[in-house]
């Protein structure tokens, strides 16, 4: 069997495409846990259907810094609530660091090569450029890790992977990791070996590849636009601050006009604050998600490549077998049949995952763009409120003056 962990062999499904709802194994559930979780579930959204039938809930939070003689690193609390029988207890709470997540991902990739594994946030950060321990960085990374784990936990196949179980339950992951590291090397070598040339890629997978390339391009463009906007806004903010101070300093040389001028200066300052918040929101919530999708695309493309490879291998072996069969009438070797199975498995898994990915993508971008719109609306609302209260203030003073004049 080797590294191949086709779900067919595990007896979960019969190889037909899997829908977004949980597979047959959920029928063995006793209860469904109701948990109000952090996912913003849109009730009309098919994405939410999965949420309602969920029986495995995971959360990543509570970052803590650990300082030892060798190194300094951050750990996160990983909490699990589940009713699945594969877990001994209904609740778990462990602490994990980034390299643990990395380990999990590698194990998943190796053990489920036909599936799309969600991406992790960037592993390496330039020590001089980014502060790995700054609140913003840790917060952003934590959100991405949380997302990763939730996506895995929501996946009908990946969520039953024993490595995930280990990750969520074992107190001390390090021992396990040691062993895992060795086997990892061996497995990846097996992937590279092959070297078969693909003849005819089915149209649908070709289309997927093209879509991913174009989408990647678009994401890149959007990322650049967002960054450009951030830059322009930052420069605008600098000028705006200066502008506000001019009003305040003018106010100093006036008497009647002092209050209006100070008022305007104050409003400008408020707008500066609102603009700063907008910029922070964009860099913390919007840009990281865009980048994560680029990684997601990379993952997906790598899975497509593996699929191509396995198809190529099958085609190659088949061709060789057919030739031999023609020569000496031996039956179709088991090897070839296994390859065929493998390819069919792969194709089915991939198609299912693709649909899921598309659905997730739609949901994620809907959320992302709506969030972006909300941030902008919020920014304008803050500014509008400031200016409106100034007008009220000034007009009250005006009526005050008028009545004192007539008196």
């Amino acid at each position: 069997v080797g590294h191949l962990f086709c779900f067919r062999e595990a007896g979960l499904t019969n190889g037909t495409p899997v829908e977004t709802s949980s597979p047959a194994s959920t029928s063995s559930l006793l209860n469904r846990l109701q948990l109000d979780d952090d996912l913003e579930a849109d009730i009309r959204d098919p994405y939410a259907e999965a949420a309602e039938t969920r029986d495995l809930f995971v959360t990543v939070d509570d970052p803590k810094k650990h300082v030892s003689t060798m190194e300094t690193y951050i750990t996160y609390r990983v909490s699990t609530k589940t009713s699945r029988v594969e877990f001994d207890l209904p609740e778990y709470c462990v602490r994990r660091r980034y390299q643990d997540f990395d380990w999990l991902r590698i194990k998943l990739e190796d053990s489920q090569p036909t599936h799309l594994i969600p991406p992790l946030p960037e592993k390496f950060v330039m020590k001089g450029v980014v502060d790995r321990f700054s609140e913003d960085f840790v917060e952003t990374r934590m959100k991405a890790l949380d997302k990763f784990l939730k996506r895995v936990a929501d996946h009908p196949v990946l969520s039953f992977n024993p490595h995930l179980n280990t990750f969520l339950t074992t107190k001390d992951l390090n021992k396990r990791q040691g062993l895992a590291l060795l086997s990892k090397v061996g497995e990846s070598v097996k992937h590279v070996a092959g070297g078969y040339k693909l003849r005819a890629r089915p149209a649908e997978f070709g289309a997927m590849g093209e879509y991913l390339d174009t989408f990647n391009q678009k994401l890149g463009t959007i990322d650049r636009i967002a960054q450009r906007i951030l830059k322009e806004q930052s420069e605008y903010l600098t000028e705006l601050r200066e502008y506000g101070t001019v009003y305040s300093s003018w106010a100093g040389s006036e008497d009647e006009l002092r209050r209006p001028l100070e008022g305007v200066g104050g409003c400008v300052t408020t707008c500066c604050g609102a603009l700063e918040d907008l910029g922070d929101g964009m860099s913390q919530d919007i840009l990281p998600v865009l980048r994560e999708y680029v990684l997601y695309i990379e993952s997906m493309k790598s899975v497509l490549r593996k699929r191509d490879q396995s198809q190529a291998e099958y085609e190659g072996r088949l061709e060789a077998a057919v030739l031999r069969k023609q020569e000496d009438r031996t039956p179709m070797p088991l090897e070839v049949e296994k390859c065929q199975d493998k390819v069919e498995c792969f194709n089915a898994d991939l198609k299912a995952d693709w649909e899921r990915w598309q659905s997730n993508k739609r949901h994620d971008f809907k959320q992302l763009l709506t969030g972006m719109a909300d941030k902008n609306i919020n920014h304008y609302e803050k500014c509008q409120a400031a200016w409106e209260s100034l007008i009220t203030l000034l007009q009250d003073k005006q009526t005050e003056d008028k009545t004192s004049e007539t008196n």
């Binding site: 879509y211 174009t214 989408f215 678009k218 463009t221 959007i222 636009i225 450009r228 906007i229 322009e232 806004q233 420069e235 605008y236 000028e239 705006l240 200066e242 502008y243 001019v246 009003y247 300093s249 003018w250 040389s253 009647e256 006009l257 209006p260 001028l261 008022g263 305007v264 409003c267 739609r362 971008f365 809907k366 763009l369 709506t370 719109a373 909300d374 902008n376 609306i377 304008y380 609302e381 500014c383 509008q384 200016w387 409106e388 100034l390 007008i391 000034l394 007009q395 005006q398």
Partner: protein, 440 residues
């Protein structure tokens, strides 16, 4: 009252002119309209004035070279005709910017105790990158037209300036006006720059209030110009922010082409992003009105300073005349009593070489007495001149201060209103986009 030709270009549609007039009042003039009705019997109560149009002309300039310049149509109409609703065609004539300048220079010299309203700027300054710095640019010409009208309205509603004959001529007599102005000889009355500068440094006891006012005029000028510069930079940056959002429009549109369910939502959202990017043009154009209001007071600061400096000059001349008189009186005393109080060469030479003959002495005493009499008249004149200037100027500076406080306060409120409008537009655009995103 207009003797000269009415151009074909004269507006025939009077009604639209009338409404156009009141509409033109609003953006620029904040307090002027109300002020017109409140002031005494200013010119504006009797006559409706506006600068209706601008046109390009070609002609020869003072050094006989061809040039292109702009002329502005000044229209006037008696107020009672307007009130009675008579559809009377306005009288009109064309004036160049240089003629407005001449009028203003005349007013500056003739009424040195008045804070004379300023003209709109000669050349475009404080421009941000999209605005043209070209004097022939139609937007610049239009804003200048509004500025010239504002100038006329301010002058015509001023309790002192509105009675000036030269002003009346300017509004009504197209030809020969320049000659009449020169004939007043106002140019000869103008103070030399050197004299004025010298007075500023050497005056001993200027009125404290005027010194404070002069200091204030410096502050006003400094702050308004700083504000105008900062605002231009802010406008530039804001323009950039909005325009970059237009790129979202393009990429959403491209992206929508490859999506199934998400396509429609993305496409419509893209259109809203385009609209958002385009909205900045109108927003910033409206803000130019605010900038123009600030500019008016930037230039007003200079006019205020001019009144203060005139005080310094009159005070200095009074001081000089007094000093001169004192010195002459002293000389007389020394000559008549023989007691030398102060050192003088004459005194020294007298001591060294003997005194002069009695006839000479008498002659000199007589001369001095004449000079003293002249000097006393001079001092008297200067005292009156200085005193009158202080009195009248103080009144007008007070009037100016009230006008400035009112106008700028309204300008600031209008600015806040503009900002609110901009926020509302932004909220609208993003809400529209959000709705599209929700449909994705």
């Amino acid at each position: 009252m207009a003797e000269d030709g009415r151009d074909e270009s004269l507006a025939t549609d009077d009604e639209s002119d009338h409404t156009a007039l009141s509409l033109r009042f609003l953006p620029m003039l904040c307090g002027v309209t109300a002020q017109m009705l409140e002031e005494g019997s200013t010119l504006l109560r009797r006559m409706e004035i506006c600068v209706a149009e601008a046109e390009k002309r070609n002609g020869k300039n003072t050094v006989n070279m061809q040039e292109t310049f702009t002329v502005y149509l000044v229209e006037t109409r008696p107020m009672d005709a307007v009130a009675e609703g008579r559809n009377q065609a306005p009288d009109s004539l064309w004036r160049r910017y240089s003629e407005f300048e001449l009028l203003r220079n005349y007013l500056l010299v003739t009424y040195p105790y008045i804070v004379v309203p300023p003209l709109p700027e000669k050349r475009a300054e404080f421009v941000w990158h999209k605005l043209s710095a070209d004097n022939m640019d139609p937007d610049f010409v239009e804003r200048r037209r509004v500025g010239l009208e504002n100038f006329l309205l301010r002058v015509a509603s001023h309790p002192v300036l509105s009675n000036d004959k030269i002003l009346h001529h300017f509004l009504i007599e197209e030809h020969g006006w320049k000659e009449v102005v020169y004939e007043t000889g106002f140019q000869a009355k103008a103070d030399s720059r050197l004299r004025a500068l010298s007075a500023t440094f050497r005056v001993r006891n200027p009125d404290k209030r005027f010194m404070e006012m002069k200091h204030y005029s410096d502050e006003l000028q400094s702050h308004t110009s700083q504000l105008l510069r900062a605002r231009a930079r802010v406008a530039d940056r804001l323009y950039g922010v909005y325009k970059v959002h237009g790129n979202y429009g393009r990429v959403f549109s491209e992206w929508s082409a490859m999506e199934k369910e998400m396509g429609d939502g993305l496409q419509s959202a893209g259109h809203h992003m385009d609209a958002y990017a385009a909205s900045i043009d109108d927003i910033l154009e409206e803000e130019e009105h605010y900038a123009d209001q600030l500019k008016e007071y930037l230039f007003y600061a200079e006019a205020l300073r001019a009144v203060c400096r005139k005080h310094e000059l009159t005070q200095f001349e009074f001081e000089m005349a007094s000093q001169e008189l004192v010195s002459k009186k002293q000389q007389h005393e020394e000559l008549s009593t023989g007691i030398v109080r102060t050192f003088s060469f004459k005194g020294m030479t007298n001591k060294l070489f003997g005194q002069e003959a009695p006839e000479q002495r008498e002659a000199r005493l007589k001369l001095l007495e004449d000079l003293i009499a002249e000097g006393e008249e001079d001092v008297q004149e200067k005292t009156v001149e200085c005193g009158e200037h202080v009195e009248r100027a103080w009144v007008d500076m007070h009037r100016f201060k009230e006008q400035k406080d009112k106008d700028l306060r309204e300008a600031l409120i209008n600015y806040a209103v503009m900002q609110i409008s901009m926020c509302k537009k932004g909220i609208q655009m993003w809400s529209n986009a959000k709705e599209c995103f929700l449909k994705m």
